[in-house]
Assembly symmetry: C2
Homo-oligomer: 211 residues x 2
DNA sequence: ACCTGAACACCGTTCAAGT
DNA sequence: ACCTGAACACCGTTCAAGT
């Protein structure tokens, strides 16, 4: 070989394509589990099959995660980052920020229902996975901004919770298929339903006999 | 024995207290599973342990339910009946029917979070368990009534969905502990939070810069 | 009819080793 | 350091019997 600069062997590459799980098994496991969530409910996602699909023994994940829940928490944390990003992008691209953010929130849930369910479901406790608490608070901050909810303005707090409840509940009702065909609107697509619901909430939700 | 009216042996009693699971095993299993849901997530509720607590072999439930999901569906159906009942009672006892029903809905979720999660979660598909679809539609009817949502008045549909989304989302955020202490309101109790959120929704949820 | 024990193919997790 | 195979105590479900 002509003019080698050093006599040392080539340094180990960070990632060789044929040894996907050498030194980067943690990332590989998160990616595999995330992909499996596209088709399988988090409840039925087995650690052993994640390992199998990643090409390692059923026991290898324990080098990187304390248990199954910790792997799921890592997946959920990435989900929160993705949700926050799509909310931020929608906000800056629209003249109606609240509506754009709400649509992005619900569309994220519809597009990745099992990931959404994992992120917000009861399986991963906020107190046991503090990384998730921070990611959630950031998502909330995106929602709070167009409502003018500064920390100083505490009177807006119920409105903030109402706005979050509205999009969160609509997302859940849609991905859990809890709206019958009559409520969903047979001919309309989901986009216009979301818009109509957000518009109706903007006008106020009151009893027929209230002023 | 004096003056027995018949010479036949006494007819078998419907329920003897010492043979709880003779002829009424189905009801016993539903009751046991419902009780276990007070402390354990539906996800972790094993059919074998339900049978164990009911005092039968791990296989006996298959005489009454096709599989684990069918037992859970029966539990959820009873849950919907209970939810509908508490909503109906709240409505007739209050001068603010919408608010009373919404509070009942959220309070039910807080009081029995794992049952609520089972009833509305993705595990039991609406199409695979039509008994649940009917029970859900009835619950919705309670919510629709104070909003004046007749089937003829289709313009109210988005408002109905918004109202249901609001209470459903608030219920989920509360039972999944997704509201940080700042949003939940540290000193206030849950009752007043619910009331404040419903009031805020009644005034309308809009961006700060919208008219 | 209703219930049982044995069996099958899975789990999550732990442990003693291997390189 | 990172990975492995064997082992343990569980699952849901099926099957051949027992009364």
């Amino acid at each position: 070989m002509w003019s080698m600069s050093t006599s040392k062997k080539a340094p180990p590459r960070r990632k060789r394509p044929d040894s996907y799980h050498h030194g980067d098994l943690r990332r590989a496991l998160v990616a595999t589990a995330t992909q499996m969530l596209e088709n399988e409910e988090a409840e039925n996602l087995s650690l052993r099959e994640v390992a199998r699909r990643a090409g390692v023994s059923h026991n290898a994940p324990y080098r990187h995660f304390a248990d199954r829940d910790s792997l799921l928490a890592a997946v959920a944390a990435e989900g929160f980052r993705a949700l926050g990003q799509t909310m931020a992008e929608s906000r800056s691209a629209s003249a109606q920020p609240l509506r754009a953010i709400g649509e992005a929130y619900v569309q994220f849930a519809i597009g990745r229902p099992r990931l959404f369910g994992l992120m917000f479901g009861p399986g991963l406790e906020r107190s046991r996975h503090p990384e998730l608490a921070a990611a959630m608070d950031e998502v909330f901050a995106h929602l709070a901004q167009p409502l003018g909810g500064n920390s100083a303005d505490d009177g807006a707090r119920p409105t903030l919770v109402a706005a979050w409840s509205l999009v969160h509940g609509l997302a859940h009702l849609l991905i859990d298929h809890r709206l019958g065909p009559r409520l969903r609107g047979s001919t309309q697509d989901v986009n216009s339903l979301i818009g109509d619901v957000l518009d109706a909430a903007g006008r106020g939700i009151q009893s027929a006999d209230e002023p």
